[in-house]
């Protein structure tokens, strides 16, 4: 009887001590806070003191890969702590293959060398793409790409890596060993005398089925979604969908079933169909800069670095398909810029 009671007490203690991974959203600035999306409460906090550029869950939801200004790290989603520093260096983007679990990171060149190159007007030092096996315990490939590359994505099976060279408006494709597979011009617009595009290409998002990559683009005259077909099934590989305004696009996330993408622009959220057509457009009172769909629902999680100017706080909101904020939490000690939602 005493043993049974002890087991029961231990089990209860474990249940309370270990927060459920599913139903949580990890939000970040220079540290991470973990939000329960059902109750909109903070259930954990992981200090870091490094600005976090990207976060993504492993397909099984057990690990969270974190790209920061100083390193590439792995955190345990159950223990809510960093378990490993995989590599040092400013890691500005990462991506996880949804089926194979491979991870790819993009590490920029040294700060001082970049500053010297800026002053001299010479090309930036090269960035590095590294592909890891599941758990980031083994390096599968590593190679250099032009400096100034801003984002990287990996196909669901881990067999193709795409790098965004934003200044040139190009996506460079590689296999896992770093062999170049091709270059896609994603900016069929005017360029300056250096061949640079005068528009923001800050990120790209690969559809869950790996067939399409979407790139938000903002220039002085317009905002657009650049729809790139990777499957070869479409006649026209690159289609630029003009959004008809020039609000800056900030956050982009595919719906889990590849049916469309969510885009946050200044004080708005838009859902586009996979064909690039806007299917809903909602005006919001707060400027949310990143968005992620909640698996198994039609809700999304959005983060606002400035939720209340008066309180000097950031915030996290759960928003339904009609654009109504259904739950929200104000974070007095954080201005979240990124969000990653745990898989089901």
């Amino acid at each position: 009887m005493r043993a049974t009671l002890s087991c029961l007490v231990a089990a209860l203690g474990l249940a309370f001590a270990t927060p459920a991974v599913a139903g949580t959203a990890w939000v970040s600035s220079n540290h991470i806070q973990i939000i329960d999306t059902d109750t909109a409460r903070v259930v954990g906090r992981i200090p870091l003191q490094e600005f976090i550029h990207d976060m993504e869950f492993s397909p099984d939801g057990q690990a969270v890969y974190v790209a920061s200004s100083q390193a590439f790290r792995v955190a345990s989603a159950e223990e809510l702590r960093f378990t490993e520093t995989v590599s040092e260096g400013g890691t500005i983007a990462l991506s996880v293959a949804s089926r194979s679990g491979d991870v790819v990171t993009l590490t920029k060149g040294d700060d001082q060398e970049s500053l010297a190159a800026r002053k001299a007007g010479t090309p930036l030092p090269e960035s590095t793409v590294t592909v890891y096996g599941p758990g980031a315990t083994e390096v599968l490939g590593s190679w250099s790409v032009p400096g100034g590359s801003k984002d990287v994505v990996i196909s669901p099976d881990g067999d193709a890596i795409h790098v965004l060279l934003s200044q040139k408006g190009q996506v460079l494709s590689f296999d896992v060993a770093g062999k170049a597979l091709g270059t896609i011009d994603v900016a069929p617009i005017a360029r300056n005398e250096r061949g640079d595009v005068e528009a923001i290409f800050s990120a790209m998002e690969l559809s869950p089925d790996g067939k399409t990559v979407m790139l938000p683009s903002t220039s002085e005259s317009k905002s657009a979604i650049v729809d790139v077909d990777l499957s070869g099934a479409r006649g026209e590989q690159v289609i630029v969908q003009d959004l008809g305004h020039r609000r800056r696009i900030q956050g982009v996330a595919w719906d889990e079933d590849s049916s469309g993408i969510y885009v946050t622009a200044v004080n708005h959220v838009v859902k586009f169909s996979a064909a690039g057509l806007p299917v809903s457009w909602q005006r919001l009172a707060v400027n949310y800069v990143d968005i992620a769909p909640l698996p198994g629902t039609d809700e999304t999680v959005m983060v606002a670095p400035t939720f209340s100017s008066k309180n000097g706080s950031g915030g996290v909101s759960v928003v339904d398909a009609q654009g109504n904020v259904v739950r929200t939490i104000e974070l007095p000690d954080m201005s979240p810029f990124h969000v990653a939602v745990a898989p089901e």
Binding site: S29, N30, H31, Q49, E50, F51, S69, Q70, G90, I92, K108, G109, D111, S114, L115, R118, K119, L124, G147, G148, K150, S166, E198, A199, I200, S202, R246, R247, R248, Q250, V266, N267, N287, V289, A304, P305, T306, S309, G312, S313, G314, L331, P332, D333, M334, S335, F337
Partner: protein, 99 residues
Amino acid sequence: MSRIKALNVKAQRMQEVVDRDVRGYTFSDCCSSFAPGWEVGTSDNPDPCPWKADLTLCWQTCYWMGQVPDIDSYGSWLDSCGNINDDWRNLCTIPDNGQ
């Protein structure tokens, strides 16, 4: 103040001016100024884009007019900002003499 009468034309004009307590630091929805405290939209509504929200975009792309360094040369610039609304005072100032 209401009991003070304007004695000349210039003073009358000053009295007639509506004292707006906000000043525009944005063009369209683009933040142009690193001047916290005065963020308003184009029609005097609360700023649709507080400069804090745009800081990373300016930092990472060096395109918009926000007066921020570029991520390639100053990769640690935002490391000390957990809550940018309060911690922006920690941000280093980039010398304008190129050093």
